[in-house]
Subunit: 143 residues, 2 copies
DNA sequence: TATAATTACTACAAGGCAGCTAGGATATGG
DNA sequence: CCATATCCTAGCTGCCTTGTAGTAATTATA
């Protein structure tokens, strides 16, 4: 029942991207890697996924880097986590293709209910919310 | 972000226990294993944990088996899952002992909020609720 | 047009852990 | 005493997360 560290890294990274000005000009992975103390090589994989999900845009070459593909308040945590690990899957028994016994199963409503609950929570928090929260205190790091 | 199959098995097993009369007389693991098509050896481990958490009571020897330790409507899913895997941990960053950067972290409120949401969902569903739901349809199996 | 910067892509290795199996110890009703 | 069950401990196995590494492709800039 864990959010993968990949997803947490992704959230932290986007947050750092915003802090470093990524809503205006490209920020390099090296900058983010240093700021968050995450392996740059690992960040590459994360950002490729973020790019595929249209959360960030990459520009290659000198003076390149990544920039937000849309306003921070339009990027939900659910979206980011989805980009990393696919839809939050609370149990394999939420869809017929995997379950086998789906039609006669007496508790799949339970898992889909839980999934809905989690999704709802993650849907209603955006990167902008993180920033707003963080600016309350000084010297803030994520982890 | 998954409920472990151990937890799901546990929930199914207690449900089966109730169906097989485990609120009145001992039901053997062999019965439950057959009913749910789960390895009996695996069930043993699950029920030892359930016993330690005072969810079921075991009686050894011939005519032994397991019986509910309290009414089905007093057994929440949170309790069962806790018995299997410990507290639902959405991220290691919900307590200071593991995180290191806990005090200066800008997003731990996020994970504790998620944990609270999940806990709340699981707290409000009991084994009795499963039974009530299931009796709506006929020929019900869990999975 | 050369060069340095930087993303894009692929492969794979190491470690942890969930999921399961196995064997024997212990208790108990008949 | 024996069949029936729970109780307890160890260990295997395969997958998945977490990374590392190398190389190709692209681009601003001098």
């Amino acid at each position: 029942m864990k959010i993968t560290t990949k997803s947490r890294y992704a959230i932290r990274s986007i947050f750092a991207l915003v802090l470093l000005g990524g809503d205006e000009r490209p920020v390099t992975l090296t900058q983010i890697a240093e700021h968050e103390d995450i392996s740059r090589k690992y960040l590459e994989q994360i950002f490729i996924k973020l790019k595929k999900s249209k959360i960030v845009e990459g520009s290659r070459g000198a003076q390149g880097g990544y920039i937000l593909a849309k306003p921070a308040n339009m990027i939900t945590l659910k979206e980011v986590i989805y980009a990393m690990d696919g839809p939050v899957s609370v149990s394999d028994c939420t869809n017929e293709s995997v379950c086998g016994n789906f039609d006669h199963c007496g508790i799949n409503w339970l898992w889909s209910g839980l999934k809905k609950t989690v999704d709802n929570y993650l849907e209603n928090i955006t990167i902008y919310d993180l920033k707003r929260q963080a600016t309350g205190g000084k010297d803030v790091n994520l982890s």
